[in-house]
């Protein structure tokens, strides 16, 4: 059974009515975050607070309430995620440099003895990766990546060899190329659009997954060098 309304002519009055409250919410949240940053002396806290500013941005984008707006939320999200990651890394390295070499290189070993952590990760990771593969694309990538990441982080004891890094990074680079090829096929040979669709969807999926899981590898702090 299909719906009575597939694509309306104009945006529905409900969404139009919600536009102002949504934009004002976004602006208010952004304002709160910005004010907090403006008197925040601590750099780490400022970094955490930018998360709120990002939420304000996403609300404003979502307030348009069309399919286009939804697909614009996704890039906004990704940008947010990407920048927060790069910047937190820079902050850490800055502090480590500031401390000089007297700091312990190895982080504290985590002696957690929770039942959840021994059984849950594998289960969750498998489900998430499977579901992510089913979804494909960005969403799938983020979900599967989250699963792998969780798995890697909760398995602190086992070492990941140094060349895992290059392997993962390389795989995601190749996946990106797949995606580019898919994108080109769409416009160069539109007849093969299905192939292009699959290339794009799975290229982005693999790429995002591996990128997200690299966070986990990074969380290991130190590679076991061979």
């Amino acid at each position: 059974m299909t719906a009575t309304v597939l694509v309306p002519n104009v945006v529905s009055p409900v969404v139009v009515g919600l536009f102002l409250p949504a934009v004002f919410t976004g602006i208010t949240v952004g304002l709160i975050g910005l004010l907090a940053i403006s008197y925040q002396k601590n750099d780490l806290h400022a970094l955490i607070l930018t998360d709120i500013v990002g939420i304000g941005m996403l609300i404003i984008v979502a307030s348009v309430g069309t399919d286009l707006a939804e697909s614009l939320v996704l890039p906004g999200l990704v940008v947010e995620l990407a920048e927060i990651m790069a910047i937190s890394e820079i902050l850490m390295s800055r502090e480590i440099r500031k401390q000089g070499k007297s700091v312990e290189l190895f982080p504290l070993p985590l002696n957690l003895d929770m039942e959840v952590l021994t059984t849950a990760p594998v289960f969750f990771a498998v489900i998430l990766v499977a579901y992510g593969a089913f979804l494909s694309g960005f969403t799938g990538g983020a979900i599967a990546g989250g699963g792998i990441l969780f798995y890697v982080i909760s398995r602190i004891a086992r070492g990941v060899p140094s060349n895992t890094w290059e392997g993962l990074a390389g795989a995601s680079g190749i996946a990106w190329c797949l995606w580019l090829v898919g994108f080109l096929i769409f416009f160069v040979a539109p007849d093969y659009w299905l192939l292009a669709l699959f290339l794009s969807a799975f290229g982005v999926f693999i790429k995002v997954t591996f990128k997200a899981s690299l966070v986990g590898v990074m969380g290991r702090e130190e590679f076991k060098k061979e």
Binding site: I27, L68, P75, A82, R97
Partner: protein, 159 residues
Amino acid sequence: MKLGRIWNTLANPKRIPRFYSVIVGLVLIAGFIVPMAYDNHQLYPRPTPQLQIDEQDPFAPYDRGGAPLTEPGIVKSQYPQFAAKQGYVTGYLSPISILVSNTTLYFGTSIYSSPGGLIDEILYYSRGFDTVLESSILMMAFVVASWVALNFTMKRKED
């Protein structure tokens, strides 16, 4: 000279983000006063929220019509003349999706996003270039973060 002193305080990199956020904040406050007129003739409009799911559409909320591989769905894009296969991605259903949609009414999102579906149409076809950039942004962020991590955070002993 007081002006000079203010200028000097601003030259401290730590103050610039704070200063910038104050400026953005001031402009945002203006947003409460500015009259905001929403133009309801938008691209890619969608049905009223919850309308499709209330009508028990198995593809809700992303049902835009069309039959897999034969008939394109309805897409209100900006430049239909530049998209030869417009609507096909929206109308595409993978075999699994057809199976799921026949079984249950509540898995619309999954069905419509396993290659094919409206969001894929926008993200990969009509606005595909955005996605190229988006994934490049992610890639660059990872390159930066991983380089910093590899060279500064981890391999410090070799300095």
